[in-house]
């Protein structure tokens, strides 16, 4: 490839010389020194994900880079990680949607947008920029499009799942199919596609399509499910929960409404692994959406699934879905109350097996930084329903967590990345039991860019 490149340029320049024109050639010193593989010392790999700036500072669309160090190095503040200069650029036209195996030895990626959008790739983590691609090519694009929302299920790294919803407004022709003038809006049909991907064998496991109606009363007002994401398995592994965003149209005009009463948070429950028989459950505790953004939004703990919600007028809640696959409306865990702030919004979160979790959030008091509202981390106790802002981590106004994707859970410890847009930061390791925070390796940043987590 490289030889070919030089050959072509030489040819073109030679042509210029035929033309008696001395053309100045450009410097093509594209040879890069390669970095020696870093041998793992002990423990697990910690893979840092870095999102380079595209057009706008903090947009993360200029390439997603990954770089791995041992957990010892990750905890060592004298270690410096320069993922933007030394990382592997993950194949994805826009910010990649990454997942890792529970032990950190494998990275999973599904390319987001572009010609290979929907392609699944799997890498063996070998330290530094060394990731060996394993498995065969498979794509979920035929089922859920080239910009898929996917996550890994917690079934021992066996399955990934991605979802898609398409909507169509339906109208009542009033018994006169030929006369369209008396047609009225009746409801919006939302069709859900769910695909499951065999992460081990790189193949499609299952795909089903189903209609996901709301109640007739809600539909008459113009409410419908407009976006879905974040499939999570229940404890019995016989149901899949999928988060939902509710939108609304004005039934009179079928134009979208922006200022409407927000309904109780909803989740789609469907049979697993058949992916059939969907029902919608509604919380009376939380209002707002449950589809999260780029990070897993609900987790199994102690037999129940705990789910964060977003855009809740009362501030984000962590909601609880019990083994009976219904919301436990006696469990009321409001972040505003727990943190003593207003407008808390959970951007990403992750519990350890002990019921303590790290929550990335913003609230009304967040400063407006270069890429949106400032983010914070809190240590949360799912049982005690308490949340404490972690003050040992510095919070610059340009530190934002909207695109945050990755937390490493290693026993009681949770690893996070922290760096304001365009500035260096660090890995922080939080002991969820003691609350002790360890400042880890330095994260070397580059202009307009940020880190989207550790895996």
């Amino acid at each position: 490839m490289k030889r070919n490149f030089i050959h072509k340029k030489t040819f073109a320049i030679a042509f210029a010389c035929i033309g008696l024109l001395a053309s100045c050639s450009s410097d093509d010193n594209g040879d890069n020194p390669t970095v020696d593989p870093v041998e793992p010392t002990a423990g697990r790999w910690i893979t840092v994900a870095a999102a380079k700036m595209g057009d706008n500072p903090g947009d993360g669309n200029g390439g997603t880079l990954i770089y791995s160090v041992t957990s010892e190095d990750a905890k060592d503040p004298s270690v410096s990680i320069d993922a933007f200069n030394n990382g592997l650029i993950v194949p994805s036209n826009r910010t990649a949607r990454l997942q890792s195996s529970e032990d950190g030895s494998t990275m999973f990626n599904i390319s987001y947008a572009g010609d290979t959008g929907g392609n699944y790739t799997k890498y063996n983590v070998e330290g530094g920029q060394n990731f060996t691609k394993i498995g065969t090519e498979v794509s979920i694009a035929p089922y859920v499009g080239t910009a898929p929302r996917w996550i890994k299920l917690f079934d021992g790294d066996k399955t990934g799942s991605a979802v898609y919803v398409s909507t169509e407004h339906q109208f009542d022709d009033n018994g006169t199919p030929d006369d369209a003038t008396d047609d009225t809006y009746s409801r919006t049909e939302a069709t859900m596609g769910v695909v499951t991907l065999d992460l081990e064998n790189s193949s499609i496991k299952n795909f089903e399509e189903s209609s996901i109606p709301l109640t007739p009363e809600e539909e008459a007002l113009g409410y419908y499910i407009s976006r879905i994401d974040m499939p999570t398995l229940n404890a019995a592994k016989d149901k899949l929960y999928i988060g939902a965003r509710i939108s609304k149209v004005d039934p009179a005009t079928a134009e979208s409404d922006s200022d409407f009463e927000i309904l109780g948070s909803k989740t789609i429950v469907l049979d697993y692994p058949s992916l059939t028989n969907p029902t919608v459950i509604t919380s009376t505790v939380g209002h707002g959406n449950t589809n999260g953004y780029r990070s897993i939004n609900s987790f199994l703990y102690n037999g129940s699934v705990y789910q964060a919600n977003q855009s809740d007028p009362e501030g984000s809640h962590i909601l609880k879905i019990d083994a009976n696959n219904e919301y436990d409306n006696t469990y009321d865990f409001n972040l505003d109350t727990a943190l003593g702030v207003e407008g808390a919004y959970i951007l990403a979160w992750r519990p350890a097996a002990n019921g303590k979790a790290i929550v990335a959030y913003r609230h009304n008091g967040s400063a407006e930084g270069v890429a949106g509202l400032q983010g914070f981390f809190a240590l949360v106790d799912l049982n005690a329903k308490t949340a404490v802002k972690i003050d040992a981590i510095p919070y610059d106004p340009d530190f934002y967590l909207f695109q945050y994707q990755g937390f490493v859970v290693d026993g009681d410890e949770i690893y996070v990345t922290q760096a304001p847009v365009g500035e260096n930061g660090n890995i922080y390791v939080i002991n969820t039991v003691t609350g002790e925070v360890t400042k880890g390796a330095e994260l070397v940043n580059t202009t307009g860019s940020h880190f989207i987590g550790a895996f």
């Binding site: 398409s166 399509e209 007028p313 407008g343 949106g372 509202l373």
Partner: protein, 808 residues
């Protein structure tokens, strides 16, 4: 209509009735927001955070926040690019009114500059503009498309998403998209739609193509930020006829006929041009996304022929009138009609899910009027009017829900069954039969007057109007009823003054342009009449904008074979209807206070030659350029605040710079051997929020060259054989911004270096009326890409016959 109104009112009352009962009382806050100087603030964002309510102020600074439960509130007011200001209020009654004056003023006023100018119109090439004039004479007898011809011109880069008829983007010195305006005889090509464009118009209809880079003379005045391309159609008034037909690879057939007949006595003239293009575009493609998917999703790479990419365009122009008569050099009235059909094989990228039976159709029917007269009434007063008026329509058809594979057959899913996409169409987003009908009108009027031999003034007025109507047969009448429409009217006035001095060694012109744009947004909504019934009313909002630009062009002949040229312009691109009024479908809201994009463009050129040494003759021309853009229009990034709401609006984002050099070299020997070579290199940076980046996905270095050799009397006496060789070189570029020094995985995003070589010959028979030509494109069958992984045609052969009569 009455029926729909009553049904709507029923529905309204129903929905009001079914609202959940409110336990708490709620109130409404209305208010007005002013700037420090007392002017009302339009499009300021006004919100409460708990509960989240969000509105924008209207043009009068007025807003309403409804349904706020009684209590204390902090109301935040945010104007783009400024600090949030907060007001605390208590709501304890139904209506609360507030008035707020911001601590700052609007800062987007433009500096007003007026230039008194006068200009000339002839001999523009020597006026100092950075201009290429591309001759079509040779191309018209060969198998060369207009776009290919443009692509070989220095500083111009064409990027095409496939074969004949596919989508094209034009870039001039690094500026592309709506920064480049394209005209046919001074009328924007967009008036004609995609059926009559540079993909369909044969080179034989064209006299020449002018490419103005950065600085655009008044006869093409428009909001052209980065330059203009003007296709000049034939204007001779001599009886002639020419016809040609070309056939080649991918079942490509191109035929055209041009004729003009003038009655010598009366000057009555009939002029007609017809064209027909067809191609299957079934060229071979391969690569990372060209695969066939089997059980479980297993992928097998294949080399496939494109199967849904055919293109057809047919059209013509007929004009009648008088030429070279006392009262007019040209007075012609006519009709332009065209129709095209284009299948769409894939979206912006070639993915593993190729489209089947998605196609676009467009047609246009426009009346045209041309009037030209030199020395009207008095010597030195020239008048030229070009106008079109008519309709153009475009439709998208995508209703097939079955998935297809790159081998052209139905695709199978992981179970081995044929399947339908969840979105029930080929392109994600759902089935569509969308139709956009536009009524278009455009008039360009130019008047110039020679005050004396050395001084000239030119005035030019340009109007264009688009009245647009959208509909989709797959949507309900209700949805189509409430879909907003936007009408756009643009008036541009330009004036220039042109001077030649120091024995014509110095030529200079200065010009000023006044831009006026009116956009009318019509958004049907529901209101109540005096009886309380719901009725549909059109909410009409106007946006009126006025801006000025100015510039100059000058040349000085230091010696007969060395000329220095300099030109500069403060150029503008007016925000389009979506940028001003948003787009309901994409959740983009209006920003009536958006500013135009602006650019200060500079060119400095040198021309050497031509030098003659015995039978050798050569010349060199270079141009150095910078384009300093500010107020680039774009969308802000997605944040947790705007992800779920309709809160995104187009904003002026930051600045940008394109800097570079164009160079051209020409050599001829004994008039039968010729070499042309040109290169263009630039760097393009943008600054957003104070951070500068190199714009990715930009081919920044291109070279083109061609050789021709001509033999006389080789097979037959008086015959002529021409041999041609052309090469196009584009340096590697990346879809991603520049990465770190030691990263891996970069190659995935690279558009590789490309070198395409064409070879051809033409043979003119002794009677000079018949010319046959044969061309091989991409001789070495290189994989060619203008855009990341979108492969263009490989090796192709074309044969063409031309017949022309110039004397009857």
């Amino acid at each position: 209509m009455l029926k729909i109104v009553s049904v709507l009112s029923l529905l309204l009352s129903f929905s009001a009735f079914s609202q959940p009962a409110e336990n708490t009382k709620t109130g409404t806050v209305t208010g007005t927001v002013y700037f420090k100087n007392g002017n009302p603030v339009a499009a300021a964002s006004v919100f409460t955070e708990k509960p989240i309510k969000h509105v924008y102020t209207n043009d009068k600074g007025f807003f309403t926040l409804e349904d706020l439960p009684y209590g204390n509130y902090t109301i935040a007011i945010k104007y783009y690019g400024k600090e949030i200001e907060k007001i605390t209020i208590k709501i304890d009654k139904q209506n609360t009114q507030i008035k707020h004056t911001l601590n700052y003023n609007e800062t987007n006023e433009l500096n007003e500059v007026l230039v008194n100018g006068k200009t000339k119109e002839t001999e523009i090439e020597t006026q100092g503009f950075a201009v290429n004039v591309i001759k079509t004479e040779e191309a018209s007898i060969r198998n060369i498309q207009t776009n290919e011809l443009l692509n070989t011109s220095v500083g111009v880069k064409i990027r095409q998403n496939g074969g004949l008829g596919s989508e094209v983007s034009y870039s001039l010195n690094g500026l592309s998209g709506s920064a480049v305006r394209i005209f046919i005889d001074g009328i924007p090509i967009s008036m004609y739609g995609s059926s009559f464009n540079l993909n369909s118009i044969p080179t034989s209809m064209i006299k020449n193509i002018e490419v103005y880079k950065g600085v655009v003379p008044v006869h093409l005045a428009d909001d052209a930020l980065g330059g203009a391309i003007n296709v000049v159609l034939h204007q001779d008034a001599k009886t002639n006829l020419n016809a040609s037909v070309s056939y080649g690879s991918f079942n490509t057939l191109q035929a055209n006929l041009n004729g003009l007949y003038r009655f010598e006595k009366t000057g009555f003239t009939v002029k007609a041009s017809l064209f027909h293009n067809y191609s299957d575009n079934d060229y071979k493609v391969s690569g990372r996304s060209v695969v066939v998917t089997g059980l479980g999703g297993v992928q097998t790479p294949i080399t496939a022929r494109r199967f849904n990419d055919a293109y057809r365009s047919t059209g013509g122009m007929v004009q009648v009138g008088y030429t070279d008569v006392k009262w007019a050099d040209q007075f012609l009235i006519g009709v332009t009609g065209s129709d095209d059909y284009k299948e769409v094989q894939h979206g912006a990228f070639m993915t593993i899910t190729p489209y089947k039976d998605r196609f676009l159709e467009s047609n246009a029917l426009l009346a045209n009027l041309t009037y030209q007269k030199k020395d009207l009434f008095t010597k030195g007063l020239d008048v030229k009017v070009n106008s079109v008026y008519g309709k153009r329509n475009r439709s998208v058809n995508d209703t097939v829900s079955w998935a297809y594979s790159w081998n052209g057959d139905r695709a199978i899913d992981f179970r081995g069954d044929e399947y339908q996409y969840t979105w029930r169409s080929q392109q994600e987003g759902g089935p569509t039969l969308a139709k956009i009908d536009r009524k278009v009108a455009s008039v360009r009027t130019g008047v110039s007057y020679d005050i004396n031999k050395n001084n000239k003034i030119t005035a030019n007025h340009f109007y264009s109007g688009i009245d647009r109507e959208d509909s989709d047969a797959l949507r309900s009448v209700l949805e189509n009823t409430f879909k907003g429409t936007r009408d756009l009217h643009k008036n541009i006035y330009a004036l220039s003054y042109e001077l030649s001095a120091i024995e014509n060694k110095l030529k200079a012109s200065v010009f000023g342009k006044l831009y006026q744009q009116k956009i009318i947004s019509i958004d049907p909504d529901i209101a109540q009449d005096e009886d309380g019934n719901a009725i549909v009313v059109d909410e009409i909002v106007n946006s009126n904008k006025k801006y000025e630009g100015y510039g100059f062009a000058t040349s000085y002949a230091v010696s007969p074979d060395f000329t220095v040229l300099a030109s500069a312009e403060k150029a503008i691109r007016l925000p389009n209807e979506t940028e001003v009024f948003g787009n309901d479908g994409d959740n983009v809201v209006a920003n009536p206070s958006i500013n135009p994009e602006q650019s200060n463009n500079y060119n400095l050129g040198f021309r050497f030659g031509s030098y003659k040494i015995k039978k050798h003759e050569f010349s060199i021309a270079t141009n150095l350029f910078t384009r300093n853009i500010k107020d680039r229009i774009g969308l802000p990034i997605e944040t947790s605040l705007n992800i779920d709401d309709e809160l995104i609006l187009y904003v002026n984002q930051g600045s940008g710079t394109s800097k570079g050099i164009d160079a051209q070299f020409n050599y001829t020997y004994n008039k039968n051997f010729g070499v042309n070579f040109n290169l263009s290199r630039f760097s393009l940076n943008i600054v957003n929020n104070g951070i500068e980046i190199d714009v990715p996905n930009t081919p920044f270095f291109t070279m083109n060259g061609n050789l021709r050799y001509s033999f006389k009397d080789i097979f037959q006496k008086k015959s002529r054989l021409n041999l041609f060789y052309t090469m196009y070189f584009t340096d590697e570029f990346s879809y991603l911004p520049e990465q770190g020094t030691n990263t891996v995985g970069d190659e995935f995003f690279k558009v590789p270096t490309q070198l395409v070589q064409d070879f051809g010959f033409s043979y003119a028979f002794p009677n000079k009326r018949l010319v046959a030509s044969f061309d091989i494109k991409n001789i070495f069958d290189e994989p060619v890409y203008d855009n990341l992984s979108v492969q263009k045609p490989g090796r192709a052969f074309y044969f063409k016959l031309n017949y022309s009569i110039h004397k009857f």
